[in-house]
């Protein structure tokens, strides 16, 4: 019980959720324009690596973030070109992109830093921690909410911003339209491919930040394949959240919480393997319990119409 009241648990949840949340929001944008992005995992990995490289090259954390975003956007542009222009199968390209990311980062790790496995630089400066003035002093809440990297707050802000964008603005309305019925949208003169490219590139930027949070958020370190399935969890979060930013935010929080809970449980008697397994089991269970949400929605709708 003490464990569940501990402020550090929730504070670490917020940290753990950020990469998943950012990537899942990117995935939601892609899903809204009809591209099921299996390549999130690879995009985050490239983000994590290029953030370290950017930091190494410029020594400036903000330029590093910018560098990471740019690099990942290039790859998402490639993804977009292949799926939209060459009409390649989205899933095949996504899988291929994950390979490319893994191959490219391990190769570059050797080529740039001449190390194998992982790269740590103690002199490197990570993301700053922002103490939020007033909230910081509130007893329990201050410890949960304050003192995170800017990306944590950015992620939460993006949930709201993307929601407003999708459901309140003309551009967001057309983006949803482009995904829901591309043929109709094209016949109205809506530039569907433009929205698709835009969504993919925005997804790239978000995944770049997700990766940066991973490699520069806590420790300044890059490990081969350090995403360790987060991209796939983000994908499930996108699906569970029905590509609605609020829903995506909620399901990401659930997975983030399970993640940090499992880290806490490692201190107890449980073997580490089981605690590491936990987020994946919970994701699977979440898929099971929320699987027919859309079917339920359909049923409710048809009920309303026949009344």
């Amino acid at each position: 019980m003490d464990l569940l009241l501990d402020a550090t648990l929730y504070s670490s949840t917020l940290r753990a959720v950020t990469p998943i949340l950012l990537a899942a929001l990117g995935g939601a944008l892609c899903a809204r324009v009809g591209l099921f992005n299996v390549g999130l995992e690879g995009l985050i990995l490239i983000g994590a690596f290029s953030a370290i490289v950017g930091n190494h090259l410029t020594g400036n954390i903000w330029l590093a973030l910018l560098f990471a975003m740019t690099c990942v956007m290039m790859f998402s542009l490639l993804f977009a070109y292949m799926t939209i222009h060459l009409k390649a199968n989205v899933i095949v390209v996504g899988v291929a992109l994950n390979f490319l990311a893994l191959g490219l980062t391990t190769f570059s790790l050797r080529a740039i830093f001449d190390v194998k496995g992982s790269y740590v630089d103690r002199n490197m400066v990570g993301l700053p921690r922002w103490e939020i003035p007033l909230i910081h002093d509130i007893p329990w809440i201050g410890r949960v909410v304050s003192g995170h990297s800017p990306l944590v707050y950015f992620g939460l802000l993006m949930v709201v911003l993307l929601y407003v964008y999708m459901f309140r603005t003309v551009s967001g309305f057309r983006l949803r339209a482009a995904g829901e019925n591309p043929i109709a949208s094209r016949s109205l003169g809506i530039r569907v491919t433009q929205y698709q490219y835009g969504a993919m590139i925005a997804c790239g930027a978000l995944c770049g930040l997700a990766g940066a949070q991973l490699s520069l958020g806590q420790l300044t370190l890059f490990t081969e394949g350090m995403t360790n399935g987060r991209g796939f969890i983000a994908l499930v979060a996108t699906m569970l959240g029905q590509s609605n930013p609020l829903g995506v935010g909620a399901s990401s929080l659930l997975f983030g919480f399970m993640g940090s809970l499992s880290t806490r449980l490692q201190g107890m008697a449980l073997p580490t393997q089981f605690t590491s397994m936990l987020p994946f089991v919970v994701t699977l269970l979440a898929m099971f319990f929320f699987r027919n949400k859309s079917q339920l929605a359909d049923a409710r709708r048809s009920n309303e119409s026949s009344r």
């Binding site: 060459l86 390209v93 291929a96 390979f99 391990t106 190769f107 050797r110 080529a111 994946f280």
Partner: protein, 357 residues
């Protein structure tokens, strides 16, 4: 003439893909300051330079071929089974534990261990299929998630209940399987083992199965249009479970063969680290799920990987160069698949417009 043309055509594009992959690799080599010619020469030597290296490549290709065949079968039936990693590991673990704990003569242990590997992996894979048919849970995602669960489960098994406590260093691995239950090597002192024969036989059987049997026909139709298949009386649920079982079973066989033919024990992480599972999936994608093509592609990927080790040994270029080449290759191929797809669609659309306006 027509046949020659066809063969030439089907060979042209993979060759082109390989060329593009090598070109990308060349750029990377130049970036790290290596000599392209030397590096590729070392790569060739590392893969095929001597009989020893050649058998090494065959040994590495063995699990990739088996996994690739399994994935190909699932893809043909229309299921994106990305769970080869977990299936491979459970197959290896089950084989090791069976060989260690079932009493009897060596040949019996060996046989039972292989069967156990196939069944355990098959059930794990069919479970994902069941979640899909019964609960409509997206197979692509569930198989991915089940991978992680299998990996951690196997890791737990060999670091707690079944850990080898005989050695001084407490490694996460099972004890060694007794000599009599090993898969024989094909050549004295070489690493290629009898598992390679399984892979060859499996390739031919799968090819014949898909092409000439009724059940293979049903698999193809199910993959082509599931509604059409069920309309025609194909039992989708049953066929899906069976093909997922066989698909996983082949990955399990790969794991069992690795454990019984190469490592003789299950070592935590030793099956994931070389990336066999993903290489198998890549081989399938490269060959558009054609069994013989998959085997050839698997051989190519294995050669790239063993060649990469040669590069690492003898030049300053890191061995990761091969994973880079593989990735570019697969990316190029995924564009190629779609390219022919567009051509088909354009033709079809022209035909449809002409007739239905």
């Amino acid at each position: 003439m027509n046949l020659v043309n066809q063969i030439a055509k089907s060979l042209l594009q993979p060759l082109l893909a390989i060329l593009v992959g090598l070109a990308a690799g060349a750029v990377a080599i130049m970036i790290v300051g290596g000599s392209v010619v030397d590096t590729y020469a070392e790569m060739w030597k590392g893969a095929f330079g001597s009989f020893y290296f050649f058998t090494n490549t065959l040994a590495r290709a063995t699990p990739i071929i088996l996994i690739g065949l399994g994935v190909a079968l699932a893809f043909r039936a229309g299921f994106f089974n990305l769970g080869a990693e977990g299936q491979l590991i459970l197959g290896g673990l089950s084989a090791a534990l069976t060989a260690l704990h079932v009493p009897g003569p060596g040949w019996l242990k060996l046989t039972l261990a292989i069967i156990a590997g196939i069944i355990a992996a098959g059930i794990w894979s069919a479970f994902a299929g069941w979640l899909d048919t019964r609960f409509r849970m997206n197979l692509l995602i569930t198989t991915l998630l089940l991978n992680y669960i299998a990996v951690y489960f196997a890791s737990y098994m060999v670091s707690h209940p079944f850990m080898d406590r005989t050695g001084s260093a407490a490694m996460a691995q099972t004890p060694m399987v007794e000599n009599a239950a090993w898969l024989p090597k094909l050549f004295q002192g070489m690493s290629v083992h009898a598992g390679f024969l399984f892979a060859m036989i499996g390739t031919i059987l799968l090819f014949l199965y898909i092409r000439y049997t009724v059940s293979g026909y049903e698999v193809r139709m199910l993959g082509g249009n599931p509604l059409f298949a069920s309309y025609g009386g194909v039992r989708r649920g049953r066929l899906m479970l069976i093909s997922m079982f066989v698909s996983g079973g082949l990955a399990g066989l790969a794991g069992a063969a690795e454990v019984l033919g190469t490592q003789y024990r299950f070592i935590d992480g030793s099956l994931s680290a070389p990336g066999y599972a993903w290489s198998g999936i890549m081989a399938t994608l490269l060959a558009s799920s054609h069994p013989i093509g998959t085997a050839l592609a698997a051989l190519l990927l294995a050669a790239l990987q063993t060649g990469g080790m040669g590069v690492e040994r003898n030049t300053d270029v890191p061995l990761e160069i091969s994973s880079l080449i593989q990735a570019v290759l697969i990316l190029f191929v995924s564009a190629r698949i779609s390219y022919s797809f567009i051509k088909n669609r354009k033709k079809a659309r022209a035909a449809a417009d002409g007739s239905s306006t």
